[in-house]
Amino acid sequence: MRVNFTVNGRPQEADDVWEGESLLYVLRERLGLPGSKNACEQGECGSCTVRLDGVPVCSCLVAAGQVEGRDVVTVEGLADYARQRSSGTGARGGTSLDEAKGWQAKGADSQTGEGAGLSPVQQAFIDAGAVQCGFCTPGLLVAADEMLERNPNPTDADIREALSGNLCRCTGYEKIMDAVRLAAARQSEGV
């Protein structure tokens, strides 16, 4: 089947999709957007979290056909999404299909954040040491960003509740807590 939907603000068309394919598979293997991760593929770990019409979902549990005509934001579009949210504009840029298919790891400098154009929550994860192996990071970023959108001044208990669907095996979550607190503080200070 053919599935038409919007990813990170750009219309996308996926062809020859099997009925059994998940949104996660289509993003990763058909659209060249492997940022959403495949840690469990059974809806338990949250590493594949994306926003579907604004709502955080495990993309491994969404059948590709269900996203027809809908709007998806992945970690690859998070920085743009945050930028547009803060500037209050509706239209969004994102990654073109050709760009996505030709993606290659680039050597950006995380010491300075130079040339990366990160969202506040992405920068906070780096600064706080919340990234180790990083496999849980994309899902956590999407979930944390969504929580901060709803609740700009979360308590620790709020953060834990919002991120309880995202497993991390490396950090013991302490630095993730630090990162979200840091992002919230920077957001409220307007930095």
């Binding site: 492997p34 469990c40 995380s110 990366a116 990234v131 180790q132 990071t137 834990r160 309880s164």
Partner: protein
Amino acid sequence: MPANGAPTKITQGSQTKGGIGESTLRPDGTLKVTGEFAYSSDMWHEDMLWGQILRSTVAHAEIVSIDTSEALAMPGVYAVMTYDDLPTEVRNYGLEIQDTPVLAHGKVRHHGEPVAIVAADHPETARRAAAKIKVDYKELPVITDEASATAPDAILVHENRDDHHAGHVPHPNIVHRQPIVRGNVAEARGRADVIVTGEYTFGMQDQAFLGPESGLAVPEEDGGVHLYIATQWLHSDLRQMAPVLGLPEEKVRMTLAGVGGAFGGREDLSMQIHACLLALRTGKPVKIVYNRFESFFGHVHRHPAKLHYEHGATRDGKLTHMKCRIVLDGGAYASASPAVVGNAASLSVGPYVVDDVDIEAIALYTNNPPCGAMRGFGAVQACFAYEAQMDKLAKELGLDPVEFRQLNAMEQGTVMPTGQPVDSPAPVAELLRRVKAMPMPPERQWESSEGADVRQLPGGLSNTTHGEGVVRGVGYAVGIKNVGFSEGFDDYSTAKVRMEVVGGEPVATVHTAMAEVGQGGVTVHAQIARTELGVAQVTIHPADTQVGSAGSTSASRQTYVTGGAVRYACELVRERVLEIGRRKFGSYHPAWATAELLLEGGKVVTDGGEVLADLADVLEDEAVEVEEEWRHRPTEPFDLRTGQGNGHVQYSFAAHRAVVEVDTELGLVKVIELACAQDVGKALNPLSVIGQIQGGTTQGLGVAVMEEIVVDPKTAKVKNPSFTDYLIPTILDTPTIPVDVLELADEHAPYGLRGIGEAPTLSSTPAVLAAIRDATGLELNRTPVRPEHLTGT
């Protein structure tokens, strides 16, 4: 055409000094937060096929027949391979003992053993084709524990053993046995005023790294293959793979793809050989990605263990003797079992002074899932048991459990049961003091102005209590872990360091085969290069087999050994740079010949701070490159009868205090706080050090209260291979983890550092258990603790 997602060089540090001791940020951090970092499961290649493994549905059986015809006939299927299709006579692999078949040969020995492999143009086609392979099994009785393994009529899991342990083990179903005998236990026992014994059980823990086993094998024009892989040790994989593929090692190129955690679970091969076999067979790139269900079958686990301990002490609280017997279940294949046995035996006393000991550790061959390396490696199981014993003794003697431990704590100069003196700081008593001195979390921390916040209570949002039946407990534990590969292993690392001028700026490039699995080795390598070479910019070359071995990312060894190799290579580069400088500028200033010279801030300076030259002027268009191996001091094997020998390189110590609250009616536990104090020698990157300690602590928490692979004792089949049924701590299960870092230099190690990754995983578990015992008064001799153990239901 290169594979999509092939790693590229990462350059860091255009602005900060960023040498050792600073919390510089990860060079791969930006890639990881934008989703651009390519993990092994993200690799992609035009025209690639998908590989799938068919695994045994039974634990122990003869294979009567395999029929692949229906699978082969499916449209989209390119290849189906079984044992009979393997290209050479080398058809087994293994870390130490080559007992593991690449594909089952006439017999399967555990649930989930690979039997056949399929390549197809879509992963679902590959899965369906694998399901169409008909395997006729004739089931055999299962060996599941020591009694069934060593019964007089026991079936041998491996017949005709000829490995180097076969000659000294008491039974062919025992992989390895290590006794340690020192002093005179019978005599020392006579001095004991109290004797306590205990039988302890440690459940099977899974590494549960989040990035599934995966990789991409690309056939090359010279008949070889290029594998992009997530592993802990590229060269160990290569050594095991090449003979099976029938290729010389130079025709098997290995590049480290992004690794989504490891924790020991990637020390053994998983899909490496299978992907390469299918790529070579089909002439097409082949990607294999396990799903989580398969991952539980696709790697070894932490050895479950039965531990019997006896300790004696005098009335004034001094340990007299220790006897223990540790039985580790190695499962169907050896993996790292022999080394785990050596660790369990040699660290079974814990960080205490006991001169008279009688120790035996064994690992069994059974039909249970194979077990091998996991963070803590044999020391974890022992720590759980000896720390429970310490609490029992303290209680028996009416002493404070921390004071009792401090009274018996080892220190620098203490002789281990192996006869090896501890010749660097061993601040065991001090770590206990520090962790005890940390402020306690407030009582009834779940109370808020609006009543009980159920999120802070056992049961959480299930809203099972508002504080009724909730009891607090506090527990302490301390542990000892060895650092580096032990028992005479030639544990070296290689580093290639290059220095040149790019765009007017001196730049260092560090190239090693070290597996970055999340620990932050790449961060530390850049810091070492900056410190040693005085450059701002360091480029980290992707890890591959184009450079010599870096050894394994395990045993808390990478910062020590590959870090040591990077430092050594940098020193040699510096000498060469200074030689060039002397040649060019030596006649202009006498200090070139007389002073101690350093590289700092892109310049050659004297130790007095006088600038002699810019590195850019010294090097001009010349590049200096050095590739060298570096070794820590050698170790010795343990004697097979007495266990004596200087077997370990270095020791690492951590102590924990756990505060728990238990709903005694429902048996639900909430860990409120897990404080840790650890000696790290020298924190090369304090932020990363704390991250390691908190992460290791949390894995110890997991096996205290939730994590266990459940194997049916009747069938030896795994009952919970999913994240639905195998639970790891979520952010709600994990408390705050305050960390107190002590830095007492080890003069034998680079920069005085101490390997840190594993020690916090040891003492975390027994501290939580001790706290639950304190809250409930129950004995609790097994981990993990489940609600029924607390309610008696």
